[in-house]
Symmetry: C2
C-alpha cells in the first residue's frame, strides 16, 4: 500500500471505559505496530511543518516521546523531552498545572532552549488540552516560542483546541 | 560532519550525584538535542541488526521510547511499548520485578506479539540490568523470542550484561 493511501483511522482502536467508566479511549498501539502506518503518520506531520523554521520538537512523556523523537529526526532538529518531576538530571524550569483533582508538574532542562527558538510541541491525543497547555506555558517560560501544537488525533467534542488559543493546532485525525 | 565521524560520547553529559549522592548519571539529552548525533545513534543501531530477522522493537517507558520508536521505523518493523501498570488500555501480560527496595511491574499488550516473533529490546542505558531483565522475561512470557538487548550506552562496572545472560547484548558506547 502506498503511504498516501493509508487511512490512519483504521489503525486507531476504541477501548471503552478506559481509564474509567464512560470514557472511550483512543488506543494508538495498533498504529505503532504497523510500520507503514506509523511511518505515514510521521511523514504527514513532517510535511505539514516542512516550510516552517523550527529549532526543536518538544514532547511530554511518555506517549509524546514515541512520535516526537521520529518527527525531530524527520525534520532534522533536536528533540527536547518534557518530563514529570525529578526525572531530568540537570537544572530544570517547571510548570505546575491543574488536574481534575489536584495538580501536576512538568519540567524541561533549563539549557534545552534559547530565547527566540521556535519549538513545535507534539502529543498523540488532544483531549481537554490541559497537558499541552502546560507544555506551551513551560516553553514560553524558557523564552522560546511555540510554533504550533501538533497531534496524531483530536477529540473535537472536548474543545481542547480552545484551551490552546492563540496557538496553531494541527491534528492528523479529528473525531467530532 | 559526516555521520561516521561523530563521536557519540561527546554528546553524553555526566551529572554527579543524580538521582542520589555517589551516582554519576549519564545524561543523553545533549545527544537528543543534536540531530546529527541522534540520527547517528539510530543509524548505527539499525546497521548492527540489519541482517537479523526481526518482527518488532520493544522498549520500556519513558526514555526507551525515544530510541525505540525511531529504530522501529529505521528497521521497518512495529514498535511495542512496555509500560508501567495501568497505562496500557487493552488486555495485558505483566511481569513483576525486584527493585533495591520493593518491587515494580511492567506490562505489554497481550495481542502485541505472536509466538515465535523475534523482538529486539532497546533502552538508553544498561546499568544493573534489572529493568531490561524484566523486559526479557515479559517478552518470553508472551511466547515471542528476544533477539537481543540493545543500548545506547553501557556501564560495564555494574555488570548488567551478566544479568542478561544468555541474551545477546549490544551497546553503542561502553564505559569501563
Amino acid at each position: 500500500m502506498s503511504p498516501a493511501s493509508i487511512d490512519l483511522r483504521e489503525h486507531i482502536r476504541d477501548i471503552p471505559d478506559f481509564p474509567k467508566p464512560g470514557i472511550m479511549f483512543k488506543d494508538i498501539t495498533p498504529l505503532l505496530g504497523h510500520p507503514e502506518a506509523f511511518r505515514a503518520s510521521i511523514d504527514r506531520l513532517a510535511q505539514a511543518f516542512s516550510d516552517q523554521k523550527l529549532d526543536a520538537i518538544a514532547a511530554a512523556e511518555a506517549r509524546g516521546f514515541i512520535f516526537g523523537a521520529p518527527l525531530a529526526l524527520a525534520l532534522n532538529v533536536g528533540f527536547i523531552p518534557i518530563r514529570k518531576p525529578g526525572k531530568l538530571p540537570y537544572a530544570t524550569i517547571a510548570m505546575e498545572y491543574q488536574l481534575e483533582y489536584g495538580h501536576d508538574r512538568l519540567e524541561v532542562h533549563s539549557d534545552a532552549l534559547k530565547p527566540g527558538n521556535r519549538v513545535l510541541l507534539l502529543d498523540d491525543v488532544l483531549a481537554t488540552g490541559g497537558t499541552m497547555r502546560a507544555c506551551c506555558d513551560l516553553i514560553q517560560q524558557t523564552g522560546a516560542e511555540v510554533a504550533a501544537c501538533a497531534f496524531i488525533l483530536e477529540l473535537d467534542f472536548l474543545k481542547g483546541r480552545e484551551r490552546l488559543e492563540p496557538y496553531e493546532v494541527f491534528s492528523l485525525i479529528r473525531y467530532p
